[in-house]
Protein backbone atom coordinates (compact mmCIF):
# COMPACT_ATOMS: atom_id res chain seq x y z
CA UNK A 1 0.00 0.00 0.00
CA UNK A 2 1.48 3.35 -0.99
CA UNK A 3 1.52 5.92 1.81
CA UNK A 4 -0.50 9.04 1.01
CA UNK A 5 -3.48 7.18 -0.39
CA UNK A 6 -5.27 7.21 -3.68
CA UNK A 7 -4.13 10.65 -4.81
CA UNK A 8 -0.43 9.85 -4.49
CA UNK A 9 -0.88 6.45 -6.11
CA UNK A 10 -2.60 7.98 -9.13
CA UNK A 11 -0.79 11.35 -9.33
CA UNK A 12 1.55 10.09 -12.05
CA UNK A 13 -1.33 9.00 -14.23
CA UNK A 14 -3.10 12.30 -13.70
CA UNK A 15 -0.02 14.30 -14.64
CA UNK A 16 0.59 12.10 -17.71
CA UNK A 17 -3.07 12.59 -18.67
CA UNK A 18 -2.76 16.38 -18.35
CA UNK A 19 0.40 16.38 -20.48
CA UNK A 20 -1.37 14.26 -23.11
CA UNK A 21 -4.33 16.67 -23.16
CA UNK A 22 -2.21 19.80 -23.72
CA UNK A 23 -0.14 18.01 -26.35
CA UNK A 24 -3.25 16.91 -28.25
CA UNK A 25 -4.92 20.32 -28.05
CA UNK A 26 -1.67 22.16 -28.87
CA UNK A 27 -0.45 19.91 -31.68
CA UNK A 28 -3.87 19.13 -33.24
CA UNK A 29 -6.85 21.17 -32.09
CA UNK A 30 -6.01 24.86 -31.66
CA UNK A 31 -5.88 26.85 -34.91
CA UNK A 32 -2.54 27.10 -36.72
CA UNK A 33 -0.59 30.36 -36.52
CA UNK A 34 -1.45 32.75 -39.38
CA UNK A 35 2.14 33.38 -40.47
CA UNK A 36 4.08 30.27 -39.39
CA UNK A 37 1.44 27.63 -39.96
CA UNK A 38 1.54 24.24 -38.21
CA UNK A 39 5.22 24.46 -37.26
CA UNK A 40 4.33 27.07 -34.67
CA UNK A 41 2.60 24.30 -32.68
CA UNK A 42 6.05 23.16 -31.57
CA UNK A 43 6.08 26.25 -29.34
CA UNK A 44 3.61 24.46 -27.05
CA UNK A 45 6.43 22.04 -26.27
CA UNK A 46 9.47 24.27 -26.74
CA UNK A 47 8.44 27.22 -24.54
CA UNK A 48 7.17 25.16 -21.55
CA UNK A 49 10.21 22.87 -21.71
CA UNK A 50 12.56 25.88 -21.72
CA UNK A 51 10.61 27.43 -18.84
CA UNK A 52 10.85 24.25 -16.78
CA UNK A 53 14.59 24.08 -17.53
CA UNK A 54 15.10 27.60 -16.17
CA UNK A 55 12.90 26.86 -13.16
CA UNK A 56 14.74 23.63 -12.39
CA UNK A 57 18.15 25.31 -12.51
CA UNK A 58 16.89 28.12 -10.28
CA UNK A 59 15.77 25.50 -7.75
CA UNK A 60 19.20 23.78 -8.01
CA UNK A 61 20.78 27.11 -7.12
CA UNK A 62 18.43 27.81 -4.21
CA UNK A 63 18.62 24.26 -2.86
CA UNK A 64 22.44 24.35 -3.11
CA UNK A 65 22.60 27.60 -1.15
CA UNK A 66 20.14 26.09 1.32
CA UNK A 67 22.23 22.94 1.69
CA UNK A 68 25.43 24.89 2.38
CA UNK A 69 23.54 26.85 5.00
CA UNK A 70 21.42 24.17 6.71
CA UNK A 71 23.07 20.82 5.79
CA UNK A 72 19.73 19.14 5.18
CA UNK A 73 20.04 16.00 3.05
CA UNK A 74 16.59 16.72 1.62
CA UNK A 75 17.91 19.90 -0.01
CA UNK A 76 20.73 17.94 -1.59
CA UNK A 77 18.22 15.42 -2.96
CA UNK A 78 16.10 18.30 -4.26
CA UNK A 79 19.08 19.90 -6.04
CA UNK A 80 20.07 16.57 -7.63
CA UNK A 81 16.51 15.84 -8.76
CA UNK A 82 16.05 19.32 -10.23
CA UNK A 83 19.37 19.11 -12.08
CA UNK A 84 18.33 15.82 -13.71
CA UNK A 85 14.87 17.07 -14.63
CA UNK A 86 16.29 20.41 -15.78
CA UNK A 87 18.78 18.70 -18.09
CA UNK A 88 15.97 16.56 -19.53
CA UNK A 89 13.64 19.50 -20.21
CA UNK A 90 16.40 21.75 -21.54
CA UNK A 91 17.38 18.98 -23.95
CA UNK A 92 13.73 18.77 -25.05
CA UNK A 93 13.68 22.57 -25.53
CA UNK A 94 16.83 22.47 -27.65
CA UNK A 95 15.59 19.50 -29.72
CA UNK A 96 12.16 21.03 -30.36
CA UNK A 97 13.78 24.40 -31.14
CA UNK A 98 16.08 22.65 -33.58
CA UNK A 99 13.15 21.02 -35.41
CA UNK A 100 11.39 24.40 -35.53
CA UNK A 101 14.63 25.98 -36.83
CA UNK A 102 14.89 23.45 -39.66
CA UNK A 103 11.35 24.25 -40.77
CA UNK A 104 11.70 28.03 -40.36
CA UNK A 105 15.36 28.94 -40.94
CA UNK A 106 16.17 25.91 -43.13
CA UNK A 107 18.84 24.47 -40.82
CA UNK A 108 18.95 22.27 -37.74
CA UNK A 109 21.33 24.47 -35.81
CA UNK A 110 22.28 28.10 -35.93
CA UNK A 111 25.08 29.71 -33.90
CA UNK A 112 22.54 32.05 -32.43
CA UNK A 113 23.50 33.45 -28.99
CA UNK A 114 20.37 32.12 -27.26
CA UNK A 115 20.80 28.61 -28.71
CA UNK A 116 24.50 28.46 -28.03
CA UNK A 117 24.31 29.78 -24.47
CA UNK A 118 21.43 27.40 -23.72
CA UNK A 119 23.52 24.46 -24.97
CA UNK A 120 26.41 25.59 -22.76
CA UNK A 121 24.06 25.87 -19.78
CA UNK A 122 22.90 22.32 -20.46
CA UNK A 123 26.52 21.13 -20.53
CA UNK A 124 27.23 22.90 -17.23
CA UNK A 125 24.42 20.99 -15.51
CA UNK A 126 25.44 17.75 -17.21
CA UNK A 127 28.86 18.40 -15.63
CA UNK A 128 27.08 18.88 -12.28
CA UNK A 129 25.58 15.40 -12.63
CA UNK A 130 28.99 13.96 -13.59
CA UNK A 131 30.52 15.55 -10.50
CA UNK A 132 27.86 13.93 -8.31
CA UNK A 133 28.46 10.58 -9.95
CA UNK A 134 32.20 10.74 -9.36
CA UNK A 135 32.07 11.11 -5.56
CA UNK A 136 31.09 8.07 -3.49
CA UNK A 137 30.98 9.65 -0.04
CA UNK A 138 27.46 10.99 0.48
CA UNK A 139 28.26 14.10 2.55
CA UNK A 140 31.26 15.08 0.49
CA UNK A 141 29.23 14.65 -2.70
CA UNK A 142 26.48 16.87 -1.30
CA UNK A 143 28.97 19.57 -0.24
CA UNK A 144 30.90 19.72 -3.49
CA UNK A 145 27.78 19.48 -5.65
CA UNK A 146 26.21 22.34 -3.69
CA UNK A 147 29.22 24.58 -4.38
CA UNK A 148 29.11 23.71 -8.08
CA UNK A 149 25.32 24.17 -8.09
CA UNK A 150 25.88 27.76 -7.00
CA UNK A 151 28.64 28.34 -9.56
CA UNK A 152 26.76 26.79 -12.50
CA UNK A 153 23.92 29.28 -12.10
CA UNK A 154 26.23 31.98 -13.48
CA UNK A 155 25.31 30.80 -16.99
CA UNK A 156 21.56 31.32 -16.53
CA UNK A 157 21.65 35.16 -16.69
CA UNK A 158 24.00 34.87 -19.69
CA UNK A 159 21.33 32.84 -21.52
CA UNK A 160 18.67 35.39 -20.63
CA UNK A 161 20.67 38.46 -21.64
CA UNK A 162 22.24 36.88 -24.73
CA UNK A 163 19.43 38.10 -27.00
CA UNK A 164 20.02 41.63 -25.74
CA UNK A 165 23.85 41.54 -25.88
CA UNK A 166 24.08 40.17 -29.42
CA UNK A 167 21.97 40.39 -32.52
CA UNK A 168 19.91 37.23 -32.32
CA UNK A 169 17.75 35.24 -34.69
CA UNK A 170 15.84 33.98 -31.67
CA UNK A 171 12.39 35.41 -31.23
CA UNK A 172 12.21 38.28 -28.70
CA UNK A 173 9.71 38.01 -25.80
CA UNK A 174 6.09 37.89 -26.98
CA UNK A 175 4.35 37.62 -23.61
CA UNK A 176 6.69 38.97 -20.91
CA UNK A 177 7.10 42.35 -22.62
CA UNK A 178 5.78 45.88 -22.05
CA UNK A 179 2.27 46.30 -23.50
CA UNK A 180 -0.09 43.63 -24.84
CA UNK A 181 1.29 40.20 -25.82
CA UNK A 182 1.90 39.93 -29.58
CA UNK A 183 0.13 36.57 -29.75
CA UNK A 184 -3.50 35.66 -30.46
CA UNK A 185 -5.52 35.15 -27.26
CA UNK A 186 -6.53 31.56 -28.03
CA UNK A 187 -2.94 30.58 -28.81
CA UNK A 188 -1.85 32.43 -25.67
CA UNK A 189 -4.35 30.44 -23.57
CA UNK A 190 -3.00 27.19 -25.03
CA UNK A 191 0.57 28.29 -24.31
CA UNK A 192 -0.26 29.20 -20.71
CA UNK A 193 -2.02 25.85 -20.25
CA UNK A 194 1.04 24.03 -21.63
CA UNK A 195 3.37 25.94 -19.31
CA UNK A 196 1.14 25.14 -16.32
CA UNK A 197 0.94 21.42 -17.15
CA UNK A 198 4.68 21.11 -17.85
CA UNK A 199 5.31 22.83 -14.51
CA UNK A 200 3.04 20.27 -12.86
CA UNK A 201 4.98 17.47 -14.56
CA UNK A 202 8.20 19.05 -13.27
CA UNK A 203 6.88 19.06 -9.69
CA UNK A 204 5.76 15.44 -9.98
CA UNK A 205 9.03 14.22 -11.49
CA UNK A 206 11.10 16.04 -8.87
CA UNK A 207 8.96 14.74 -6.03
CA UNK A 208 9.29 11.16 -7.28
CA UNK A 209 13.03 11.55 -7.89
CA UNK A 210 13.56 12.89 -4.35
CA UNK A 211 11.53 9.98 -2.96
CA UNK A 212 13.62 7.53 -4.96
CA UNK A 213 16.84 9.07 -3.64
CA UNK A 214 15.58 8.78 -0.07
CA UNK A 215 14.75 5.11 -0.61
CA UNK A 216 18.14 4.51 -2.21
CA UNK A 217 19.94 6.03 0.75
CA UNK A 218 17.80 4.11 3.21
CA UNK A 219 18.68 0.85 1.41
CA UNK A 220 22.37 1.81 1.40
CA UNK A 221 22.20 2.39 5.15
CA UNK A 222 20.83 -1.08 5.86
Amino acid sequence: MIRGGWFRAHSGMMVAGAVAVVLVTGLMLVPADASQGDVQRLMYVHVPAAWVGYLAFLVVFLASVGYLWRRTARLDHLAAACAEVGVLFTAVAIASGSIWGKATWGKWWDWDPRLTTTAIMLLAYAAYLLLRQSIADRRRRARLAAVFGVLAFVNVPVVHFSVLWWRSLHQPPTILRPGDPTIDHLLLAQLIASVAVFSLAFVWLVRERVRLERIREAVADV
Binding site: T117, D137, R143, V147, F148, L151, V154, V158
Partner: protein, 224 residues
Amino acid sequence: MSMVREALELARKDIVTEIRARDALPSAIALGATALFVVALSIGPDVERLRSLAPALVGVVLAFATITLADRLDAVDRADDAFVALWLVLDDPRAILLGRVISLTASLFVLELGLWVSASLLLDVELTAATVVLVPVALLSSLSAASVAALVMTLVGTTPQRTVLAPTLLLPLLVPTLLSGVQAASAVLAGSGPLVLWASVSGAEALLFVGVGLLTYREAAKPA
Protein backbone atom coordinates in the same frame (compact mmCIF):
# COMPACT_ATOMS: atom_id res chain seq x y z
CA MET B 1 43.68 40.92 7.37
CA SER B 2 45.67 37.88 8.38
CA MET B 3 43.99 35.91 5.59
CA VAL B 4 45.20 38.41 2.95
CA ARG B 5 48.73 38.34 4.39
CA GLU B 6 48.76 34.55 4.36
CA ALA B 7 47.34 34.51 0.83
CA LEU B 8 50.10 36.82 -0.40
CA GLU B 9 52.69 34.57 1.24
CA LEU B 10 51.21 31.50 -0.44
CA ALA B 11 51.07 33.28 -3.79
CA ARG B 12 54.70 34.28 -3.37
CA LYS B 13 55.53 30.63 -2.60
CA ASP B 14 53.74 29.49 -5.79
CA ILE B 15 55.42 32.13 -7.95
CA VAL B 16 58.91 31.45 -6.55
CA THR B 17 58.34 27.70 -7.03
CA GLU B 18 57.31 28.34 -10.62
CA ILE B 19 60.31 30.59 -11.31
CA ARG B 20 62.70 27.99 -9.88
CA ALA B 21 61.09 24.85 -11.25
CA ARG B 22 59.90 26.35 -14.59
CA ASP B 23 57.26 23.67 -14.75
CA ALA B 24 53.70 24.84 -15.36
CA LEU B 25 54.17 28.07 -17.31
CA PRO B 26 56.53 26.64 -19.98
CA SER B 27 54.03 23.78 -20.49
CA ALA B 28 51.19 26.28 -20.84
CA ILE B 29 53.24 28.40 -23.26
CA ALA B 30 54.05 25.32 -25.35
CA LEU B 31 50.35 24.34 -25.32
CA GLY B 32 49.33 27.90 -26.25
CA ALA B 33 51.84 28.13 -29.11
CA THR B 34 50.78 24.74 -30.48
CA ALA B 35 47.09 25.63 -30.25
CA LEU B 36 47.71 28.99 -31.94
CA PHE B 37 49.56 27.36 -34.85
CA VAL B 38 47.12 24.46 -35.24
CA VAL B 39 44.00 26.63 -35.14
CA ALA B 40 45.52 29.25 -37.46
CA LEU B 41 46.59 26.52 -39.88
CA SER B 42 43.13 24.96 -39.88
CA ILE B 43 41.51 28.35 -40.59
CA GLY B 44 43.81 28.95 -43.55
CA PRO B 45 46.20 31.65 -44.71
CA ASP B 46 43.62 34.45 -44.99
CA VAL B 47 45.39 37.13 -42.87
CA GLU B 48 42.32 39.39 -42.65
CA ARG B 49 40.26 36.54 -41.26
CA LEU B 50 42.97 35.48 -38.84
CA ARG B 51 43.35 39.05 -37.59
CA SER B 52 39.61 39.36 -36.98
CA LEU B 53 39.63 36.03 -35.11
CA ALA B 54 42.68 36.87 -33.00
CA PRO B 55 40.78 37.85 -29.81
CA ALA B 56 38.78 34.60 -29.95
CA LEU B 57 41.93 32.55 -30.61
CA VAL B 58 43.71 34.17 -27.67
CA GLY B 59 40.62 33.56 -25.51
CA VAL B 60 40.34 29.88 -26.41
CA VAL B 61 44.04 29.25 -25.91
CA LEU B 62 43.85 31.02 -22.55
CA ALA B 63 40.90 28.86 -21.50
CA PHE B 64 42.84 25.65 -22.14
CA ALA B 65 45.97 27.06 -20.51
CA THR B 66 43.86 27.93 -17.46
CA ILE B 67 42.99 24.25 -17.03
CA THR B 68 46.65 23.19 -17.34
CA LEU B 69 47.98 25.83 -14.95
CA ALA B 70 45.25 25.43 -12.34
CA ASP B 71 45.62 21.65 -12.39
CA ARG B 72 49.39 21.91 -11.93
CA LEU B 73 49.11 24.34 -9.00
CA ASP B 74 46.58 22.10 -7.31
CA ALA B 75 48.72 19.00 -7.87
CA VAL B 76 51.78 20.70 -6.32
CA ASP B 77 49.81 21.61 -3.19
CA ARG B 78 48.31 18.14 -2.86
CA ALA B 79 51.62 16.29 -3.23
CA ASP B 80 53.03 14.83 0.00
CA ASP B 81 49.95 15.96 1.95
CA ALA B 82 51.16 19.57 1.72
CA PHE B 83 47.57 20.67 1.39
CA VAL B 84 46.54 19.11 4.69
CA ALA B 85 49.53 20.74 6.38
CA LEU B 86 48.55 24.12 4.95
CA TRP B 87 44.97 23.61 6.08
CA LEU B 88 46.09 22.91 9.65
CA VAL B 89 48.74 25.62 9.86
CA LEU B 90 46.93 28.62 8.43
CA ASP B 91 44.82 30.92 10.61
CA ASP B 92 42.22 31.03 7.84
CA PRO B 93 42.32 28.17 5.27
CA ARG B 94 40.59 30.40 2.74
CA ALA B 95 44.00 31.98 2.25
CA ILE B 96 44.86 28.87 0.20
CA LEU B 97 42.19 29.78 -2.35
CA LEU B 98 43.04 33.47 -2.39
CA GLY B 99 46.75 32.73 -2.72
CA ARG B 100 46.07 30.35 -5.57
CA VAL B 101 43.90 32.94 -7.33
CA ILE B 102 46.71 35.51 -7.06
CA SER B 103 49.45 33.20 -8.34
CA LEU B 104 47.25 31.80 -11.09
CA THR B 105 46.29 35.32 -12.16
CA ALA B 106 49.98 36.25 -12.38
CA SER B 107 50.76 33.20 -14.56
CA LEU B 108 47.75 33.72 -16.82
CA PHE B 109 48.49 37.43 -17.15
CA VAL B 110 52.07 36.74 -18.29
CA LEU B 111 50.77 34.09 -20.69
CA GLU B 112 48.07 36.36 -22.13
CA LEU B 113 50.53 39.20 -22.72
CA GLY B 114 52.79 36.68 -24.47
CA LEU B 115 49.85 35.51 -26.57
CA TRP B 116 49.10 39.07 -27.68
CA VAL B 117 52.73 39.59 -28.70
CA SER B 118 52.53 36.30 -30.64
CA ALA B 119 49.28 37.44 -32.23
CA SER B 120 50.93 40.65 -33.42
CA LEU B 121 53.79 38.65 -34.96
CA LEU B 122 51.79 35.77 -36.44
CA LEU B 123 48.28 37.10 -37.01
CA ASP B 124 49.19 40.63 -38.07
CA VAL B 125 47.41 42.24 -35.11
CA GLU B 126 48.59 45.84 -34.81
CA LEU B 127 49.75 46.65 -31.28
CA THR B 128 49.90 50.44 -31.05
CA ALA B 129 49.90 52.92 -28.18
CA ALA B 130 46.09 52.84 -28.25
CA THR B 131 46.03 49.09 -27.71
CA VAL B 132 47.90 49.41 -24.40
CA VAL B 133 44.40 49.12 -22.87
CA LEU B 134 44.79 45.41 -23.65
CA VAL B 135 47.01 45.20 -20.55
CA PRO B 136 44.26 45.96 -17.96
CA VAL B 137 41.78 43.95 -20.06
CA ALA B 138 44.17 40.97 -19.95
CA LEU B 139 44.63 41.42 -16.20
CA LEU B 140 40.87 41.41 -15.61
CA SER B 141 40.21 38.36 -17.77
CA SER B 142 43.16 36.54 -16.13
CA LEU B 143 41.77 37.36 -12.68
CA SER B 144 38.30 36.21 -13.69
CA ALA B 145 39.56 32.92 -15.18
CA ALA B 146 41.86 32.30 -12.21
CA SER B 147 39.10 32.84 -9.66
CA VAL B 148 36.78 30.25 -11.19
CA ALA B 149 39.58 27.79 -12.04
CA ALA B 150 41.00 27.82 -8.52
CA LEU B 151 37.61 26.98 -7.06
CA VAL B 152 36.78 24.25 -9.59
CA MET B 153 40.17 22.61 -8.99
CA THR B 154 39.33 22.58 -5.30
CA LEU B 155 36.15 20.67 -6.11
CA VAL B 156 37.70 18.04 -8.34
CA GLY B 157 41.22 17.89 -6.90
CA THR B 158 40.64 14.74 -4.87
CA THR B 159 38.32 12.89 -7.24
CA PRO B 160 39.76 9.95 -9.18
CA GLN B 161 38.42 11.37 -12.47
CA ARG B 162 39.98 14.82 -12.02
CA THR B 163 41.64 14.87 -15.45
CA VAL B 164 38.27 14.47 -17.16
CA LEU B 165 36.17 16.37 -14.66
CA ALA B 166 38.37 19.49 -14.50
CA PRO B 167 37.81 20.60 -18.12
CA THR B 168 34.21 19.34 -18.12
CA LEU B 169 33.31 21.48 -15.12
CA LEU B 170 35.56 24.40 -15.87
CA LEU B 171 34.89 25.13 -19.54
CA PRO B 172 31.15 25.92 -19.21
CA LEU B 173 31.92 28.17 -16.23
CA LEU B 174 34.65 29.95 -18.19
CA VAL B 175 32.17 30.99 -20.89
CA PRO B 176 31.22 34.38 -19.36
CA THR B 177 34.91 35.10 -18.75
CA LEU B 178 35.82 34.05 -22.26
CA LEU B 179 33.03 36.13 -23.79
CA SER B 180 33.76 39.29 -21.86
CA GLY B 181 37.53 38.99 -22.44
CA VAL B 182 37.11 38.40 -26.18
CA GLN B 183 34.54 41.18 -26.60
CA ALA B 184 36.62 43.67 -24.60
CA ALA B 185 39.78 42.82 -26.59
CA SER B 186 37.83 43.11 -29.87
CA ALA B 187 36.61 46.56 -28.81
CA VAL B 188 40.20 47.64 -28.03
CA LEU B 189 41.53 46.41 -31.37
CA ALA B 190 38.63 47.93 -33.32
CA GLY B 191 39.04 51.24 -31.49
CA SER B 192 35.31 51.29 -30.76
CA GLY B 193 32.64 49.22 -29.02
CA PRO B 194 31.36 48.73 -25.49
CA LEU B 195 34.79 48.21 -23.89
CA VAL B 196 33.77 49.51 -20.46
CA LEU B 197 30.70 47.24 -20.39
CA TRP B 198 32.68 44.07 -21.17
CA ALA B 199 35.56 45.01 -18.87
CA SER B 200 32.97 45.56 -16.11
CA VAL B 201 31.47 42.12 -16.83
CA SER B 202 34.96 40.58 -16.44
CA GLY B 203 35.50 42.45 -13.19
CA ALA B 204 32.06 41.50 -11.87
CA GLU B 205 32.70 37.81 -12.68
CA ALA B 206 36.01 37.91 -10.85
CA LEU B 207 34.34 39.49 -7.82
CA LEU B 208 31.48 36.98 -7.97
CA PHE B 209 33.72 33.92 -8.20
CA VAL B 210 36.14 35.13 -5.53
CA GLY B 211 33.16 35.98 -3.30
CA VAL B 212 31.47 32.59 -3.82
CA GLY B 213 34.85 30.93 -3.40
CA LEU B 214 35.57 32.61 -0.06
CA LEU B 215 32.07 31.84 1.18
CA THR B 216 32.17 28.16 0.23
CA TYR B 217 35.86 27.26 0.39
CA ARG B 218 35.81 25.63 3.82
CA GLU B 219 33.05 23.28 2.61
CA ALA B 220 34.61 22.61 -0.76
CA ALA B 221 38.16 21.96 0.41
CA LYS B 222 37.77 20.38 3.83
CA PRO B 223 40.21 17.41 3.84
CA ALA B 224 38.53 14.03 4.21
